[in-house]
Structures are given as C-alpha cells and as structure tokens.
C-alpha cells in the first residue's frame, strides 16, 4: 500500500468508527421507532464505508464492491420490513414511542 492509501484507510476507518458510535448512540438514546431505524441506517453506512475503504487500500475493489452491494441490499430489505412493522405498530398503538410497546406478549 502506498502512503496515500494507508492515510486514506486510516481516515476512513476513523470516520467509520465515529459513524458506528453515532448510530449506536442514536439507537440507545431515542425512543422513537423511526429514529431507531435512522440510527440503524447510519450503522450500515459505517460498514459500507469500511468495506469500500479496505478494498481500495488493498486493491481488492472487486470483492469490496460485491460485499458493499450485498450490505446495501440487506439494508433495503431490513428498512422495508422494519418500516412496515413501524406503520403497523403505529396503527395499533397510535404512537411511535417504544415505551408503548413494552407490554407485548411473549
């Protein structure tokens, strides 16, 4: 790896960790179901960035792109199903607050 690639990998790695922290913080602090989904999205952005940066720095762009595409597809699937669940929960409880769904059976 050249000096530039090592520097870029380090910077991308740091930003990926910062994005992971922001996503986890959002999920832990908020009680709004949509905002939890947004935190989850930020987490997946961090993963995608890390995969692409490592692929670029190690000259494995083919493999890294395929993995990034897989992550994006899983992300879409998760968001679509979670959005459906959020809407159904809202219709049932008239609220997006996670406190209101604590009394679920099971």
């Amino acid at each position: 790896m050249s000096g530039n690639e090592v520097g870029l990998l380090s910077a991308a790695g740091i930003i990926a960790v910062v994005l992971l922290f922001i996503g986890f913080y959002c999920i832990l602090v908020t009680r709004n179901l949509i905002r939890i989904l947004i935190g989850l999205e930020v987490l997946s952005k961090a993963i995608t960035l890390a995969i692409v940066a490592v692929g670029y720095a190690t000259h494995n762009v083919g493999l890294s792109q395929s993995l990034a595409i897989t992550v994006i597809i899983i992300e879409v699937f998760v968001v679509a199903v979670a959005a459906g669940i959020v809407i159904n929960l809202y219709r049932h409880h008239e609220s997006l607050d996670t406190k209101n769904i604590e009394n679920l059976k099971g």
């Binding site: 090592v6 740091i14 494995n60 395929s66």
Partner: protein, 164 residues
C-alpha cells in the same frame, strides 16, 4: 488522488450523519440521511468502486429516503408547536454527541498515527462481475432469497384483514 478532498468528504459524511441523528423533525433526519448517502456515494466513486457507488446513490439516497418519507407521512403529523415543545428535551439528549464523536475521532487519529493499521493481503481479482458471478455465487443466491423474503414480509405486513 487528492487526499485533502477525501478527508473533507469524510468529514462532511460524519457531519451529515450527525445532523440526521440530531435533527428535531423526522423529515429533516431523512433528508440528512439521504445527503449522507449521496456523500458516501461520492467517496465510493473516488475509491474506485463506481458500481457500488451507483447502487448506494440510487438505492440508499433514493429508495430508502422514499421509504422513510412514506413512513413519516403515514404516521401522525406534528404541528410546529409540538415540535418546538419537544425541541429542548430532544437537544438535551443529543448535546453531548458531537463532542463525544469528536473526542473519539481525535483519539483514534492519535492512536493510528502512533500504530499503523494491519495491512490485509490482496486477492488480485478486481472485476466485480467476476467476483459476483464466479467467486461469490452463494452470496448472489442469498441476496435473491433475501429480496423475496423482504417482498413476502411487506405483503404479510400490509395484508388487509378479512372482516369476521
């Protein structure tokens, strides 16, 4: 490769993600997330991953934002007064987040400056089509199954109940 431009793009990415998390109105959060996806697509393009960048831009900045805005419009609309009323409590929750994120970033920068990251070995295959169709066929099958499961999940979730 302009190293400083990449650094600026990465900082903008972190800033837009922070905005997406901290915005009081959900619609602004969705817009912030779309902006973060667009910036990430530019970063990916500059890191020699154009195919993944196009998919990130079209799917994450487009489709997922459309899903978020649909969900936000389907739930209860908040008036300006309600948003203003909860702005203080919302900001109190997130006021420490930018400082913590900055401290984490600076600490990691100092640590990685002192000790370089491990360097993984290159596999040599650079064409994403070869990787997808020859090396990672199981992944492709898994993605198709996952998409079908997602479609089935949406159908089940939005199925109209029969009147009894």
């Amino acid at each position: 490769m302009h190293w400083s431009l990449d650094l600026v793009l990465l900082l903008v990415l972190a800033g837009s993600a922070l905005w997406a998390v901290m915005a009081t109105r959900l619609i602004f959060s969705a817009i912030g997330l779309a902006f973060a996806s667009a910036v990430l697509a530019v970063v990916m393009f500059r890191m020699a991953s154009p195919l993944a960048a196009v998919i990130e831009l079209s799917v994450c900045a487009g489709l997922i934002t459309a899903i978020f805005i649909s969900v936000i419009s389907l739930v209860k609309h908040e008036t300006r007064g309600e948003v203003e009323a909860r702005r203080g409590a919302h900001l109190r929750k997130y006021v420490v987040l930018p400082f913590l994120a900055a401290i984490l970033g600076i600490t990691l920068a100092l640590v990685t400056k002192r000790q370089a990251l491990p360097q993984p070995q290159a596999l040599g295959e650079t064409d994403v089509r070869n990787v997808f169709w020859h090396l990672r066929q199981a992944d492709l099958l898994g993605q198709i199954i996952m998409l079908l499961v997602g479609a089935f999940g949406i159908v089940v979730l939005f199925k109209l109940r029969r009147k009894t």
